[in-house]
Amino acid sequence: MTMLTIAKNTLGEAMRKKILNIFLLVALAMIAFAVSFASFTMREELTIIKSFGLGVIAIAGMFITVMLGVNLVPQEVERRTIYTILSKPVRRWEFLLGKFFGALATILVNLAFMAVVFLVTVAWKHQWQPEWALLKGVLMIFFQLFLLSSVALVFSIFTTPVVNFFLTAGVYIVGSLSDVTLSMSHGADKSPIVKGFYWLVHYLVPNFANFFTQNPLIHPESVIKNELLYYAQNIIYAIIYASVLLIIAILAFERKDM
């Protein structure tokens, strides 16, 4: 299937990209470095290692996703490799989705590397008892980045990589402020226009904040109700939202002059 061929190719190329590998190495180093915080009780140390580790994975993952996403299609156009591909029996949407899934695979591989180092570090500090529950946090990060990469992809059809970087980063930041946008959309002391504006922002901008589930993983004694439901809702949210964005990207790309 042509989509698979393009996806595999995208993965192979991305894994060789120097800058992405640098992000990965830095992340791995930081996770390991978290271990050097000594002079705490074991519980405190574990808490810090876990929060650091998840934080590093989230940030590094975000950078890798944005760097990948903004360049995914523009690079092929700039280097003219896209012409040799689209002149073959490859439908435009097959090309686009192939690139997208290749990028996703890259993100997954990077996350997996970081997750392994993270789990081993935590286990080492925990008398070699692995905390598999931490993978839930990585799972949420993955779906968050799945959604983020589709944002970057859709913007890349319309703008240059530099503008796109800031646009996508901006969407990420606004999407992380879900609590703020939600509270601003309520309240008797605000005008309907302001409330309406924040209502739109809250529900239409992808809510990346939904996916930050670190706290109960860092503090396993916390009591969470309906955890499975929450995870399921988030995964479905990511898939549906990304689908909408991918449809927009496909439609825009379909009639674009190359």
Partner: protein, 309 residues
């Protein structure tokens, strides 16, 4: 004869947000390419050649007019199985080796398994890159890159090849190898659409050409038609001075230094006039040869003329 490529009143206008004036990249272009011929597509930079090719490949959508490839509308997916494209100074994924690149493109055609492996081997040998097949493309010279480009254009054994400047940056030997390859393709019954600046190449291999300038078609026709547009060279002897003087009036050039006089005339009518003048006086016509202009001369003349307007 079946038609491989056809355009009818093809027009493409680009409207950039930044520029106030819309750019007419291609205006009212109507051309035809017969199956089995090598068609030359010429024009200075910015003439609209690349845009036309992109429209043919479905990479760009025309503003008006239509284009067909192998009787199907341009951009049709299934048709792309039977055509191929070599872009100008192509770039490929340079982390891949020669064999990996061809593997990638072959997969896009759905060719796989043993058939893919043997086809790739065959292609590498045809373009002379078999011994370099495991080297990364980042280590290939320009000529080698061009050759791998040709290989990927042959992967699907296409009926129609669209080649954009296939000999740019090649040394003379590689140059002539490409020319031979193109001729061989024609012998195999393939159609070649060749867009090139290398007028000597075009002159050597093409059957018909189209000349574009600023998006408009200036001239099209077979090379013989265009280049043999009129001039003749007549060699005659036994001419006396009076005759030579008379002949100066109807000729564009006379060389009477030796016994054999060379007379150049502008068109076929003048040939007849010269013959009628020489024969009655006992002069002997040795030869009448149609003068073939070089394509370069024709090209330069046409472009100059158009730019004057």
């Amino acid at each position: 004869m079946a038609i491989a490529v056809k355009t009818e009143h093809l027009t493409k206008t680009f409207q950039h947000i930044m520029h106030k004036e819309p750019v007419n990249a291609v205006s009212d272009l109507s051309i035809e390419v017969q199956e089995g011929e090598i068609f030359g597509f010429l024009g200075p930079n910015g003439a609209g050649k690349t845009t036309t090719i992109k429209i043919l490949l479905g990479l760009v959508y025309p503003t008006s007019g239509q284009a067909w490839i192998l009787d199907k509308p341009a951009g049709d997916i299934e048709t792309k199985r039977q055509i191929s494209y070599l872009p100008e100074t192509p770039y490929f994924y340079d982390y891949m080796s020669g064999i990996e690149v061809l593997d990638f493109y072959a997969s896009l055609f759905g060719i796989d398994g043993a058939k893919k492996r043997s086809r790739i081997e065959e292609l590498l040998k045809i373009v002379g890159l078999y011994q370099d097949r495991h080297k990364r493309l980042s280590q290939y010279s320009k000529g080698m890159l061009q050759r791998i480009g040709i290989a990927q254009a042959l992967v699907n054994d296409p009926k129609l090849l669209i080649l954009d400047e296939p000999t740019t940056g090649l040394d003379p030997i590689a140059h002539s190898e490409i020319r031979d390859l193109i001729l061989k393709l024609r012998d195999e019954g393939k159609t070649v659409f060749l867009s090139s600046h290398q007028l000597s190449d075009v002159e050597m291999v093409c059957n018909r050409v189209a000349i574009l300038n600023r998006g408009t078609l200036i001239k099209t026709g077979s090379l013989d038609e265009l280049l043999l547009a009129g001039q003749f060279k007549i060699e005659a002897e036994n001419l006396d001075k009076a005759m030579i003087e008379k002949l100066k009036e109807v000729s564009t050039y006379i060389d009477s230094k030796s016994n054999v006089v060379i007379i150049e005339v502008a068109d076929g009518e003048k040939v007849n006039a010269v013959i009628d003048m020489i024969r009655p006086t006992g002069g002997r016509i040795i030869s009448i040869l149609p003068q073939r202009r070089s394509l370069e001369d024709l090209f330069v003349e046409i472009i100059r003329e158009v730019n004057k307007k």
